[in-house]
Each structure stands twice: as structure tokens, then as C-alpha cells.
């Protein structure tokens, strides 16, 4: 079941086309990685989801219904360019943003207290935002994004400005929110964090969607058909017909080899190896998302 269904959405700014018939499905309760180089159209898409702008063509369904103003209170958005009112007190600021998301005063107060306790920042309540450090402001902004318990959360580069400890804190909060039923759209350039926490991804480049699916499937579809194995001692067998030995390295009595197997039928190769010598490990070489990203973007 998709919480968000984007159907052939196009967006123009004057003569410039920011999105070209982009479609994607974001399933409920998943963490969805929205990837793409700068200027690919990610922000345009996010703004359409937030109803900051509307699509010129195509449509967007939220929970099966056409996206409408009443959905705003069910979406939380952390923009890449962070911002808070510098001269407003932290507590008032979060309350204000929460109430703009239709949270009533009493429950806003209660939730704010919970989050302040969770992040152990009660002492910040009466400080002006401009007195806080960048990292502290980011935490406040994170709370402001999730305060109204939205069903759909959009994080644009959520980890910039955080130290490793706070990055981990935010990561675990994102997972916890997902486990509590929220869907998360996660837009970033940092492929390692995508691999770590995303379930599905989509890649946008030059206003086109060029890739979509669960991470595992994307990797499988983009694999190199190369296999890496280690044997004890020197490799003294031969690579079967149709396969190609790409690399061979020896170190401390162990030889590592990389073999290309175009049809992925590895049984011949394994038989060859085990009949001659001891096999220590045998792995398929799967591409990292980083590799796929660079390869796909450069191919266009």
C-alpha cells in the first residue's frame, strides 16, 4: 500500500523543465531514499509533495486520495536550508510551528515536553534560537519537523551540521519513527547513510527518474556479474570456458581472485576450485549505491 503515489508529474519554470513525467510509489512504513545530483529536480518534487507548488502535469495521491490542503498537517518537512526565527524562544518557536500544523495548544505543549525530555534539552526552552549552536538549532528544527506526529516525513539532508554522536541519535530517531508507522522520504547525497537506513530508493537525474526499487533489487539489477573468491596457497586451477579471470593477488599465503561470470552460473567455477584446493570464501561482487549512482548519472 502506497502512502504517496506520484504519477507522471511534470513541472516547468518558464522554459526550464524541472521534472519530466516522473512517477514513483512510496510504500507505507518504509524509508524511501530520494537520490540525485544537485539540480536534478529533487527539491521541485519535494515542494510539490509539500504543496508549496503544484505539478503542471500529472497527479499526486496521498493515501489514495488526490493531494489536498488538509494533508499538510499529516506531512512533516525538514528542508535542506534550515531556518528558524532567530529572535524567538526555542519553546515558543516549536509551539508556533506545531500549532501551524493544526496541533491544539494542550497536546502541542505535552508533545513538546516529551521531545525536550527525550533530547535532554529542557534548559533551552527559554533561550533565543540565535543563542544556540548550529548543531543545537538542528535538533530544535528536527523536533519542529516531527512534533505533529506526521504520517509522512520528508528529510532533506538531515545529517548536515551534526556531529557523529548526534547523527546516530537522529538515525535511531528516524528508525523509531518508521517503526511507529511513519513513512520517511530521505533526500541526500550521502550514499553510505542511504545504504544503512533506506528500504527503497529512486534516482532522479536531469528531471527524469532513472532508477527505482528496493535497495537489494537495485543492486542486483546493476551488478557487475563478477565474483570474488579466496583460496589457500596459489591458485592452480583454470577458469572454465566463457568466464574470465580479471584479477589475481597473493598475500600471506592466500590468493584473491576476481572472475567475470556473465551468466551467473557459478557451479562450474566452484567445482573447479574445490576439486583442486581449499576454498576460503566465495562472494558475488555487489556494487555499492555510490558506484551505481555515479555510473548512472554519468551514463546520461
Amino acid at each position: 500500500m502506497s502512502i504517496l503515489s506520484i504519477q507522471e508529474v511534470s513541472k516547468y519554470y518558464g522554459d526550464y523543465q524541472a521534472l519530466n513525467s516522473v512517477s514513483m510509489e512510496i510504500s507505507k512504513g518504509s524509508i524511501f531514499g530520494l537520490l540525485g545530483p544537485n539540480g536534478a529536480g529533487k527539491t521541485s518534487l519535494i515542494r510539490i509533495i509539500n504543496q508549496i507548488t503544484g505539478p503542471d502535469e500529472g497527479k499526486v495521491l496521498f493515501d489514495g486520495k488526490a493531494l489536498a490542503p488538509q494533508h499538510i498537517s499529516r506531512i512533516g518537512y525538514l528542508p535542506e536550508e534550515r531556518g528558524l526565527y532567530p529572535k524567538m524562544k526555542v519553546g515558543e518557536q516549536i509551539m508556533y510551528l506545531a500549532r501551524l500544523k493544526n496541533l491544539d495548544k494542550a497536546s502541542a505543549k505535552k508533545t513538546v515536553r516529551e521531545w525536550f525530555e527525550r533530547f535532554e534539552i529542557e534548559s533551552w526552552r527559554d533561550k533565543n534560537v540565535e543563542e544556540l549552536s548550529k548543531g543545537m538549532q538542528q535538533k530544535v528544527q528536527f523536533i519542529a519537523t516531527v512534533i505533529h506526529k506526521p504520517d509522512l516525513l520528508i528529510f532533506d539532508e538531515p545529517f548536515t551540521g551534526f556531529d557523529p554522536i548526534n547523527t546516530n541519535l537522529i538515525k535511531s530517531e528516524i528508525r523509531r519513527l518508521r517503526d511507529e508507522g511513519a513513512t520517511i522520504i530521505f533526500s541526500t547525497h550521502r550514499m553510505e547513510s542511504v545504504e544503512e537506513i533506506c528500504d527503497d530508493i529512486a534516482l532522479i537525474n536531469k528531471s527524469h527518474k532513472i532508477l527505482e526499487g528496493p535497495i537489494k533489487e537495485v543492486k542486483m539489477a546493476n551488478k557487475s556479474h563478477n565474483y570474488i573468491f579466496e583460496v589457500a596457497g596459489d591458485f592452480n586451477g583454470a577458469v572454465p570456458n566463457g568466464m574470465q579471470l580479471l584479477e589475481q593477488k597473493s598475500k600471506e599465503g592466500i590468493t584473491t581472485l576476481k572472475v567475470s561470470v556473465p551468466d551467473d552460473n557459478t557451479s562450474e567455477l566452484i567445482k573447479q576450485i574445490v576439486s583442486n584446493q581449499q576454498l576460503i570464501s566465495f562472494n558475488e561482487e555487489l556494487p555499492s549505491l555510490n558506484d551505481i549512482f555515479i555510473q548512472k548519472v554519468q551514463a546520461v
Binding site: E81, G83, L84, Y85, M88, Y96, L100, Q141
Partner: protein
């Protein structure tokens, strides 16, 4: 609607709590009352008394004692000559020495030419003109005597005339009170001008601040840009109205207190003399004239033109703020918005002089100038159709401008980097959702 309420609330409360607002709101009336009252109060204070020695060889001055603050002290003309008198001036720290020599057969015109004031340092203009006045008075008496005219008869025949002016175009023939009407027209027109500029600039700065602090993207993921703009404009309108109200109340109170306790005493004391009885009559006359002014119409008109004039310009200022990244980039857009306002304040003077003239008429119809210029005309009476036409044009233009400004604002707040041109702004208006 609920969200606009929240935005209005925030804009209002953060600004009202600012130190600058509190300081301005308190200092404003104090300063303006001080401007009115202080000079009047200072004038009543007994200042340093100046003493002027008089060496009157011909007994022209009839032992005149001078006035409060400027006393004449006479030297015996038989014992002193000019040099001795100068010596006394130097030794006694008196302000000056008035020397009226004898000779010339008591010819008044000869005396006029020869009378001299010696002072230590430069003579003060007020003192000189007072002494000149006294001298010309006594020389005139002298001349009357030479012509064999009884000075008492001249005094009796002197008459003060206060010309009654009546405007027959008004429904009832009211006594004309042009000066007071001009004053009201000028002050209210000027107030609108000042507030539009001050608060318009605040709106613009607020929008730029939201843009530079990047809060705006968070905001418009919760509310429509138009709601954000409107909330800001209305919130500031509340602040402006609060400030005006406080000023009017506070200023009125201060003026009342000041005039009762400070000027009141001075008036009572002065009322003993015949001269200020005439002054009191004048006061009564002014009070009577003020009571003839149609205050409900003026106040109603002021509030209407104040609010809609502000709203019209506020939307334009918000649009400018949205189009730029920093305040220094606003110049080129400020010019076309400021020009009509500045034109209005220039025309205001003409309109006060000729409230029914063609310039006053046209500028009180054009919506960008009508809030200021119409206020100059309202105290003098404006035909109902003109008032209604001007108000309708203002409201329609306000709606149109706000719609247009909203379009620019919506695009502008998300645009960073390049400063847009007018052409681009017009293009933004045509963009759809």
C-alpha cells in the same frame, strides 16, 4: 483562517514585546508633548533678569521700568555724562547702556538717529527690538505733542478688528475655521504618510529576514504563502493601530495634564491684566471654532484611509521584500513605490490651500496618493460622491495589489541569488500554482 490568526498573533506579540516598540511608544508622545509644552513652559520661567542702564538726557522715556526680564535703571542725567555712564556699565555687570543725548532742539527725528545702546559683548536681538519698540512709542508721543494732538485721544480711538469669515457653500452658514481645518488636515495626512513608510519598511524587513533565516520554506510547508503574507501585514497593522491609539490617548492625557498644571497657572496669573483678558477671549473663540468641526467624519475618514492606505502599501512592500535577498537590493524597487507617497506629501500642501482645486481632486482619487491627500480635503468638506469614489477606488486597488503582490511573494520567497528585474517580477505574476 485559523492559521492566519496564529501568524497575526506571532507578528503582533513579537513586535510589541520588542524594546524598540516600547521605547518608541513611550518616547513618541513625551517628545511631541515636550515639543509643544516645553517652549511655552520655559517662557513662563523667570529667567535671568537683564538690567539696562539708561542715560536719558531729555527725559524721553518717562521713567519706563521696562518689562519682566528686562529692567531699565536710570542714571541721573545731571550727574553723569556718557563716559561716566560707560564706566558704570563696565564696573557693574549690567547688560547694556541706553544713551539718549540732548541737543537738536528735542527734534524727535534727531533723537531717533542719536539714541544708542552700548553693550558688553553682542546685543541680543530680542532686547534690541524691545528697546526699539519702547523708543518708537515715546518718540511717537513726542511727535503727537508737537502736533498738538492729545495722546489719550489716540489711545481711545485705537480699535482691534477680528474679521469674521463665512463660507456660504456649506449647508449651514458656519463660521469659517480654515486654519484649524488646515492643521487637522495636515497632521492627519502626515501621520498616514509616516506610518505607511515606517510600517511598510518593517514589513519589508520582516520578509527579508524570513528569507535570509530560511524559515520561510518551513513556514510555507505549513501555510499558504498568501496566508503568511496577509498574516504579517495584518499583524503589523495591529501593532500600528495600537501605537497610534496609545499615542493619541497618552498624548491627549499628557497635553491635558500639562496644560492644566503648567500653562493653567500661568494663564490664571496673567488673566488679571486686561491684555490677557483679550487672550482668554481668543481661547474661547478657538474652543468654539473647534466645536464646529465634524470630528466623527474626520476620525472615521482617518481610520479608513489609514488602514487601507497602509494595507495597499504593505502588500507592495511585502512583494519587494520577497523579491530580494538583502535590504541593500531593495533600492530599485523602492523608488516606484516611494514616488507616489512623496508626491502625495508634496500635493498635501497644495490641497490644504485649495481643497477643491483640480490637483487636490485628482490626487485624492488616485489610490496611491488618496490616503494622504484626501485627509487634507476631508476637514473642509468633500462631496459625498467624491469620497465614496475615492474609497471604492482605494479598496479595489488594495485588492488588486494584494493579489498581485501575493503572486510575486509566492515565487520571490523561494528565489535566492540573482536579483530579479521588473520584467521577471511581471513574469512571476503570470505563473500559476
Amino acid at each position: 483562517m485559523n492559521k492566519i490568526g496564529l501568524i497575526i498573533q506571532r507578528e503582533f506579540s513579537t513586535r510589541v514585546r520588542k524594546k524598540s516598540f516600547i521605547v518608541m511608544t513611550i518616547l513618541g508622545p513625551i517628545l511631541s508633548v515636550a515639543l509643544f509644552v516645553l517652549p511655552a513652559y520655559l517662557a513662563t520661567l523667570p529667567g535671568d533678569e537683564k538690567k539696562v542702564l539708561v542715560l536719558d538726557k531729555v527725559f524721553l522715556m518717562d521713567n519706563d521700568k521696562g518689562k519682566e526680564g528686562l529692567r531699565f535703571e536710570y542714571l541721573n542725567p545731571e550727574k553723569f555724562d556718557l563716559d561716566a555712564a560707560k564706566q558704570v556699565l563696565k564696573e557693574t555687570e549690567k547688560y547694556g547702556l541706553l544713551y539718549i543725548p540732548d541737543g537738536g532742539n528735542m527734534d524727535p527725528d534727531w533723537i531717533k538717529k542719536k539714541a544708542t545702546l552700548y553693550t558688553v559683548g553682542d546685543a541680543n536681538i530680542g532686547t534690541v527690538s524691545y528697546i526699539e519698540g519702547r523708543l518708537s512709542n515715546y518718540i511717537q508721543l513726542q511727535k503727537l505733542k508737537l502736533e498738538n494732538v492729545d495722546p489719550e485721544a489716540v489711545k481711545r480711538s485705537r480699535t482691534d478688528v477680528n474679521l469674521n469669515t463665512i463660507n456660504i457653500e456649506e449647508k449651514e452658514e458656519k463660521e469659517s475655521i480654515g486654519i484649524i481645518k488646515m492643521g487637522i488636515g495636515y497632521v492627519s495626512g502626515f501621520m498616514i504618510y509616516i506610518f505607511v513608510f515606517l510600517y511598510g519598511a518593517q514589513i519589508m524587513r520582516g520578509v527579508i529576514e524570513e528569507k535570509t533565516s530560511r524559515i520561510v520554506e518551513v513556514m510555507i510547508s505549513s501555510v499558504k504563502p498568501f496566508e503568511l503574507m496577509l498574516g504579517k501585514i495584518l499583524g503589523l497593522a495591529g501593532v500600528a493601530l495600537l501605537q497610534v491609539t496609545i499615542w493619541l490617548l497618552f498624548g491627549g492625557l499628557m497635553y491635558f495634564l500639562a496644560s492644566t498644571f503648567i500653562l493653567g497657572d500661568a494663564l490664571d496669573a496673567a488673566a488679571v491684566t486686561a491684555q490677557s483678558n483679550a487672550g482668554n477671549e481668543k481661547m474661547m473663540e478657538i474652543m468654539h471654532k473647534i466645536s464646529l468641526i465634524d470630528f466623527p467624519l474626520i476620525i472615521g475618514g482617518f481610520l479608513f484611509f489609514f488602514i487601507f492606505g497602509y494595507l495597499l502599501y504593505a502588500a507592495l512592500f511585502a512583494a519587494i521584500g520577497s523579491a530580494v535577498d538583502k535590504e541593500s537590493d531593495t533600492q530599485q524597487f523602492m523608488l516606484p513605490v516611494s514616488l507616489p507617497l512623496i508626491a502625495a506629501i508634496i500635493v498635501l500642501i497644495t490641497a490644504l490651500d485649495k481643497p477643491d482645486g483640480p490637483i487636490a481632486f485628482w490626487f485624492s482619487m488616485i489610490p496611491l496618493t488618496s490616503p494622504v491627500v484626501m485627509m487634507a480635503r476631508i476637514p473642509f468638506g468633500v462631496p459625498a460622491w467624491q469620497l465614496i469614489l475615492s474609497m471604492s477606488l482605494l479598496v479595489i486597488t488594495f485588492l488588486g495589489t494584494t493579489w498581485m503582490a501575493g503572486k510575486i511573494y509566492r515565487i520571490g520567497i523561494l528565489m535566492y541569488g540573482k536579483k530579479p528585474t521588473f520584467k521577471e517580477l511581471i513574469k512571476w505574476i503570470s505563473y500559476k500554482g
